[in-house]
């Protein structure tokens, strides 16, 4: 029923890991159970709710639909990796200030979706933000504060860029 274990090497949040796992082990379980990175949450296990969203080589992916073995060599970013041990990332700050989370269970997925989205589209319209967020479900907030947080984060991230430029001058 279960084949033998397979070695998986992954870089997660900048750190290299190697683990022996069953081939059917999902990335979400790998992160949560093998690496004890429990910020990646499981909400539906069929790729709809987006709570388990992580970045694989910089692109959002559902960790509940990916086998860890299939990702050998990949670079994964989870919610724990957004700010690391440092101060909150501007996106996280924006979520805090806009009250964009209540229970916080879906939040890691939203944050990673936003990280990728704002990298792709640093100055989005409200409509584009709504569209980008449709892949993640939140049951508490009604989304409006999340949309606002993403708007603010976009402003802040581009603003931060300006400040940096000034400083280098």
């Amino acid at each position: 029923m279960t084949a033998g274990k397979v070695t998986v090497r992954l870089t997660v949040n900048g750190k290299a890991y190697s683990r022996e796992v069953e081939p059917r082990y999902l990335l979400a379980d790998f992160l949560r159970h093998e690496l004890h990175l429990t910020g990646t949450h499981i909400g539906c296990e069929h790729g709809v709710c987006g709570a388990c969203t992580v970045l694989i080589d910089g692109k959002t992916a559902r960790s509940c639909l990916q086998f860890a073995v299939a990702l050998d060599g990949a670079e994964v970013t989870t919610v724990e990796g957004i700010a690391g041990d440092g101060p909150l990332h501007p996106i996280q700050e924006a979520f805090h200030e806009a009250h964009a989370l209540q229970c916080g269970y879906c939040t890691p997925g939203f944050l990673l979706t936003t990280v990728e989205f704002l990298r792709r589209n640093p100055t989005p319209t409200r409509a584009e933000i709504r569209e980008a967020l449709t892949n993640n479900m939140c049951r508490c907030t009604g989304y409006l504060n999340i949309i606002e947080a993403v708007e603010n984060a976009a402003r802040r991230l581009s603003g931060a860029g300006e400040v940096a430029t000034e400083r280098t001058r």
């Binding site: 949450h41 909400g43 879906c106 479900m137 009604g142």
Partner: protein, 793 residues
């Protein structure tokens, strides 16, 4: 007490302290908790049949799998766990008890027929597939009408029929008043079956402590104390030997405010195997077996005069209880909620209702955000529009003529519920103004068609039951619902504060708002108040967090408790300063003379005296310590209110409803933290939008559940929730502590009828009559085509 000008932190937006760890992915949800050694993982074998006899269960293949510890059936629990039921004392209630695992008979799809115990969750899932159960399928009933049919199979044979609860009410001289009105309008409304769908599914883990000889149950609950009492009762345990604790809980919405069989099972197994036992449900189990809600059929007759004033209302409500009563509300909750809430903000003095709950072969129903109220307001608010259409009076004007006016408070409604204060009329007017109601109506063509779409506007003027106290629960039959909540507040030796509350947060922000409240009353910084809740071993007993009670009852008890401690603080400070305690005030972390603030002490100075950390000693008769405990039983209910006004466009090409504009006026009395209140309104409104336009659990006629997944049980996404224009009116209660009213559910209650009415208005030119939710595109399209005389297809 309620017109206090002295609030410093209550009423202010304070950003949440819980965010910092949640944003880093450090929240400790149930499945994130460290796992004890020797943990047993369990999984439930679900019935694929809605009703069947269990002929045999063959677990040999499952048991042969390495890592499988045992496979247990219902009979294995019979000596261990009593059959499951809450204590309900109300006329017309017939008790049915539920085995925690089915014995001989299954009554709904998803009901557990066996439990697999394994060393890992993967093995438990593998083993599930190997348990061979042989069933003899029996005829099943899924719908209310089917269940009540004369030839319907009887689900619980000893009852003789499928009626689980039935009650009625009638005011004096009802028939006379009803007959005296100018005309009678009649309609039958229906709400779909929905459920909370918290993004975190449920789960629980029971851990034995062999040294203390007791157990800790970690569970995703909103009601830890009620869970503890229920488990102790059903397992024959001492309550003192069980600690029930909620970790971070990923949304509750009432769905997690029930006691579930799995919670009893993990504790029973931990006791039997002397090992920790854990269960985490998946999304399919959530949609199949967690408590469902609504599914009301509401027949309403309104006797009305030509001026639009309602003379009398007759309401006939039937609700689908599912296969078993839920714990702790049984099958009476949705039934009594709907009929008792229907009068809402309107002066209905002559009222008659008949209500029943019927058993069907579907998942048990119970509490979900709004309980009964969205259905009740779908009916009464739907009738307001019909009265307007029938009599040629603007529907907003019909509401104006019937609503309880500001000068009429306090007002006792027809079923005896006291509305102490409210802003029913101002709220309505404000909502209409915000959406530009008059201009919209003036411009609206008779056929409602503007730029290729049918455009309409809908109103819901609602009341919201909150903070229900013991009398409010008793009147509805809940014999063991405490109603009160409690707190213990301690000023620690360093002058900082710990408050222990009998509530259980599931995202509402208690760790911030309760700190604000205590800090406000003690003149401290909110950052210096630590809030502890959701754990029966730490807090005094209480009811928990549901039915919009957190702020009213949790907040109320913290205010009372803080004030009790403040009295002692002043007494000790008076002794230390030699100033009359009446002259002392607590402000900015100090206790000082109200007229001469320089004369004062820090809270820490007072605490050091209280904890004997200096040589001052205590005044004669004073005990050490600086704390108090408070139990607060609030009024029967506290009524919040508000108005939703929605403008929609219905696309005749595809039947989609687009919400073009949305206004909410919200009055929850004294606001503690406006940001949090707005968040509650947004979230509840989104759930109301879901329930009005897309969400529905579908059973076929044989009781098969057809959409236990999130591809087909549709939740609103960021594209479905429009920008909401939100206004607050603050009309403090005169009955509750500090005038607080609840805020969590009105969004659902307001949104569902407002949207149904808006769609009905948009399609009124076509003659389409909207009487049900959800209003999914396929349904709308069908209605439009029928109305236009087109062949559906």
């Amino acid at each position: 007490m309620n017109d206090r000008e002295d609030f410093t932190l209550i009423g202010r937006t304070v950003l949440r302290r819980e965010d910092s760890y949640l944003l880093r992915g450090l929240g400790q949800f149930l499945d994130d908790l460290p796992e004890p050694n020797g943990l047993i993982h369990i999984a439930f074998v679900p019935s694929p049949y809605a009703r069947a006899s269990i002929l045999s269960i063959d677990a040999s293949a499952a048991l042969a799998l390495p890592g499988v510890i045992a496979v247990l059936t219902g009979k294995d629990f019979e000596g261990d766990v009593k059959t499951f039921a809450p204590e309900i004392v109300i006329d017309g209630y017939r008790e049915v008890r539920r085995p925690v695992v089915a014995v001989d008979r299954v009554n709904f799809v998803g009901e557990s027929v066996a439990v697999v115990l394994a060393e890992s969750p993967y093995v438990a899932q593998d083993a599930l597939e190997l348990v061979e159960v042989e069933y003899d399928p029996l005829p099943a009933v899924a719908g209310i009408e089917q269940s009540l049919a004369a030839d319907a199979p009887v689900i619980h044979e000893k009852l003789g029929d499928n009626l689980l609860f039935k009650t009625r009410f009638e005011t004096d001289g009802f028939e006379q008043h009803f007959a005296a009105a100018d005309l009678v309008l009649e309609e039958e409304f229906r709400t779909g079956r929905v459920t909370g769908v918290m993004i975190e599914p449920r789960g629980c883990m029971a851990c034995p402590d062999p040294v203390a000889d007791n157990f800790t149950l970690w569970t995703t609950t909103q009601i830890p104390h009620i869970v503890r009492t229920a488990i102790a009762d059903h397992l024959g345990m001492a309550e003192s030997a069980l600690r029930v604790a909620a970790p971070a809980v990923g949304g509750g919405f009432g769905t997690k405010a029930h006691v579930y069989p799995d919670e009893l099972i993990v504790v029973a197994l931990a006791r039997r195997y002397r090992r920790a036992v854990k269960w985490v449900q998946d999304r399919r189990e959530d949609l199949l077996t967690n408590i469902h809600a609504r599914e009301h059929v509401l027949g309403i007759q309104v006797a009305v005069n030509r001026d639009g004033i309602i003379g009398a209302v007759r309401l006939d409500v039937r609700t689908n209880a599912g296969a078993y009563p839920n714990h702790p509300y049984s099958c009476t909750l949705e039934a009594t909620a709907a009929v008792r809430m229907m009068p809402g903000p309107y002066k209905i003095r002559n009222y008659k209702y008949d209500v029943c709950s019927v058993a069907t072969n579907t998942a048990p129903t119970g509490a979900y955000r709004g309980t009964g109220q969205p259905s009740a307001f779908l009916a009464i608010e739907g009738m307001m529009d019909r009265i307007g259409r029938k009599l040629g009076i603007d529907p907003a004007e019909v509401r104006r003529r019937n609503v309880v006016r500001p000068e009429e408070f306090p007002y006792v409604n027809v079923v005896g519920v006291r509305y102490d204060t409210g802003s029913y009329l101002p709220s309505l007017e404000r909502g209409l103004e915000m959406i530009g109601y008059d201009a919209f109506r003036k411009a609206q063509p008779k056929d409602r068609m503007v730029d290729g779409k049918y455009r309409g506007i809908g109103i819901c003027n609602y009341t919201e039951v909150s903070g229900t106290g013991a009398p409010g629960w008793r009147v509805r039959g809940f014999a063991k619902m405490p109603g009160f909540d409690s707190s213990r507040l301690v000023i620690e030796p360093d002058g900082r504060i710990t408050v222990y509350v009998s509530q259980a947060d599931a995202g509402q922000g208690h760790y911030t708002t309760f700190a604000q409240i205590a800090a406000d009353r003690l003149g401290a910084r909110w950052e210096d108040v630590n809030v502890i809740e959701g754990d029966t071993s730490k807090t005094p007993y209480g009811t928990g967090t549901f039915a919009s009670r957190g702020s009213v009852v949790g907040g109320g008890t913290i205010i009372r408790c803080s004030e009790k401690v403040a009295v002692k603080v002043r007494r000790i400070a008076s002794y230390m300063l030699d100033i009359d305690p009446e002259r002392l005030v607590l402000t900015k972390g100090r206790v000082c003379d109200k007229d001469d603030p320089v004369k004062g002490l820090s809270l820490r100075d007072v605490a050091e005296t209280a904890y004997s950390m200096n040589n001052l000693g205590l005044p004669q008769g004073e005990e050490h310590g600086l704390e108090a405990t408070d139990y607060y039983d609030p009024p029967m209910v506290t009524m919040a209110n508000g108005t939703h006004v929605a403008q929609v466009a219905v696309d005749p090409e595809d039947g989609r409803v687009e919400i073009e504009r949305y206004a909410v006026v919200h009055d929850c009395g004294r606001v503690i933290n406006p940001m949090i209140v707005a968040g509650q309104v947004h979230g509840a409104t989104a759930q109301g939008i879901g329930e009005a336009l897309m969400e529905e659990i579908v059973y076929d006629a044989e009781g098969q559940h057809l959409n236990a997944n999130l591809l087909e049980y549709l939740l609103p996404t960021a594209m479905d929730v429009p920008d909401i224009d939100l206004a607050h009116i603050e009309t403090p209660s005169i009955d509750t502590v500090a005038g607080i009213k609840g805020a969590a559910e009105g969004g659902v209650t307001g949104a569902l009828p407002a949207l149904a009415n808006a769609v009905a208005d948009a399609l009124s030119g076509l003659g389409v009559n909207i009487t049900r939710v959800p209003l999914r595109p396929s349904f709308i399209l069908e209605q439009i085509r029928k109305a236009r005389g087109q062949v559906p297809g």
